[in-house]
Amino acid sequence: MNQAPIPTLPLGRRISRWFGRNIIRIYAVFGFTYLFIPVLYTFAFSFNNAGKSNLTWRGFTWSNWTNPCGAPEVCSALGNSIKIGLIATTVATIMGTLIAFAIGRHRFRGRTTTNLLIFLPMATPEVVLGASLLAMFLAFRINPGFWPTVIAHVMFSISFVVVTVKARIASLDPRLEQAAMDLYANEMETFKRVTLPLVMPGIAGAALLAFSLSFDDFIITNFNSGTLVTFPKFVYISAARGIPAQANVIGSSMFFLALFIVIAGQLVNRKKVR
């Protein structure tokens, strides 16, 4: 048996070939590093024994995590953000879902106008949304504050809810509803037992999106909240003189909480599919 020797490439060629094949992966590693540097910073500085300014590292401490409300106003700002987020999310999710069903399931006059009215708020810069709403509130002598902020948050969240839920409705096989009708379910029952359960993940996703948009919004809030301080506003205000490390604790916690919700959601979904 005379075996031909396996041809080997010179080392240089082999290395360059390895790079050629893996360039995308190498790039992705760099990309993810870039994405996570600010997260790591935020997380690391939540353990900083900061004192007044959290700009430079002054030693490790658990105290920020054991006492997250230690800095003045942090927790009241967080509370405001959560309250606004919950109310705005509920209202926007309900209204947006109704619109999504109207667009996805009905034919009516004025469809194009409706679509335009949904699209425009997403294409309008936040400064314009915030400034125009504030100008109107002032014109009607309504003082900015909690409720104007809620109103604003509902306004900019609706469009995102519509788009998310509409996509889910569009991906629904119409034959499923036809099958339900065929199996003696009337319109209401078909909606309750087939349509709604199947659209539900879309609605849940839309609500999560609305909440995170609301919770994270600064620009529109800044225009319409008056003296009320939300969490992003708190960070912005304190940015000049130094942000307390407790803000990093809250930011990191939100990060882990959101990560947990998303991963748990995916696991539940996977279980359902299987």
Binding site: R175, Q178, A179, A180, D182, L183, Y184, A185, R274
Partner: protein, 378 residues
């Protein structure tokens, strides 16, 4: 077993049904009666209106004109959930969020039936999937989903079961197996099955009556054998299996048969099998009815001489020949591989012959190629 079979007036009657979408007429003035307890197939190429017909029967589409009756009940404008009709959908349409049990129980629960559990278990046994009740549809294979879709429909014992290309998504082997099972289940439960398909083989295997549809109309209706042996239009002759159609002219007639002149050769055609009202006629003969041989060998029955073999394909059970005739038309011949015929090669001169009664005659004004090459998917 079925509730419906206790009354003898469960026939489905479509009377002058028309369905248009804008300018397009999908179903054109169709009248059709499907007797209770039969396995009926609507067969046709995609776009022929068969699915639209089915959807009108199911109530998913409202006819533009005409009426639909089951027995004496007019169901034309009834909602889908008000009709004693159930459908096995294309791709099954099983509810992905419900278990197999709840899928099958869906119709029973909506109608407020009492012994849901018992009935579901019984029907799951019937489709031979008794241990799948707790699973989700996505955990099942295509064939299993198909059976659940069937179970979900027949558990309601509808007067009429509609099947919309129910086997389209299955592979060939599974399809064959399901064809036999469907037929068996139909006999078992005794319901009327209306089956829509573009697959002529599927229709012939299962149905007792087939209606061949083309451009919104029924071209011909009858048993599979009737349609195959005596097609009445070129479309049916070509769509259901293959046919050789040759133009000719009736020269003379005596008693039971006519003599047809075909490009200078004489063919005999039974008058009872001639659908043409004029002397212009299309002579039809199925490829497997033709015997092929060297010029000197064959003389009995109808013969056509002067052919040259232009292509030979061996397909196992038979050998398929393409023979070019002197008038430049290609004829198909299927020869059983029973060892009786010497193997011919391309270029060999041949004579074709067949028993006279196998010849059928169609209207001479028809297109020779109508319905050929149309056996696509719906």
């Amino acid at each position: 077993m079925a509730d419906a079979s206790t009354s003898s007036h469960g026939d489905l009657k479509l009377t002058r049904i028309t369905k248009s979408f804008g300018d397009f007429t999908a179903v054109d003035d169709m009248t059709l009666t499907i007797p209770q307890g039969s396995f009926f197939a609507l067969l046709g190429p995609s776009g022929c209106g068969k699915t639209t017909t089915l959807r009108m029967i199911a109530g998913l589409e409202e006819p533009t004109a005409g009426s639909i009756h089951i027995g004496d009940t007019d169901i034309t404008t009834k909602k889908p959930y008000q009709r004693p009709v159930n459908t096995v959908f294309q791709n099954y349409a099983l509810f992905p969020h419900l278990s197999i049990f709840e899928n099958v129980a869906f119709g029973l629960r909506r109608r407020g039936v009492k012994d849901v559990k018992e009935q579901v278990e019984k029907v799951l046994k019937l489709v031979e999937l008794p241990h799948f009740a707790d699973r989700k549809p996505t955990q099942l294979s295509g064939g299993q989903q198909q059976r659940i879709a069937l179970a979900r429909a027949i558990v309601n014992r509808p007067a009429l079961l509609l099947l919309d290309e129910p086997l389209g998504a299955l592979d060939l082997k599974l399809r064959r197996q399901m064809q036999i099972e469907l037929k068996w289940i139909q006999t078992e439960v005794g319901l009327t099955f209306v089956h829509v398909t573009h697959d002529q083989e599927e229709a012939m295997t299962m149905a007792d009556t087939i209606a061949v549809m083309n451009e919104g109309r029924i071209e011909q209706m009858g048993s599979p054998a009737e349609l195959y042996e005596s097609p009445c239009t070129a479309f049916v002759a070509n769509f259901l299996g293959q046919s050789n159609l040759i133009r000719g002219k009736i020269e003379s007639s005596d008693g039971e048969s006519s003599v047809v002149q075909v490009n200078g050769q004489k063919i005999s055609l039974l008058k009872s099998r001639n659908r043409s009202s004029t002397s212009s006629v299309l002579i039809g003969i199925r490829p497997e009815k033709i015997r092929i041989g060297l010029p000197e060998g064959l003389t009995s029955g109808n013969t056509l001489t002067g052919g040259i073999v232009s292509d030979v394909s061996f397909v196992g059970v038979s050998t398929q020949y393409v023979v070019e005739m002197p008038w430049k038309q290609d004829l198909m011949v299927f020869e059983q591989n029973d060892g009786g015929t010497p193997t011919l090669r391309a270029g060999d001169p041949v004579t074709l012959s067949w028993n006279e009664p196998f010849t059928f005659g169609l209207d001479g004004s028809e297109d020779v190629n109508a319905g050929a090459e149309m056996d696509g998917e719906a």
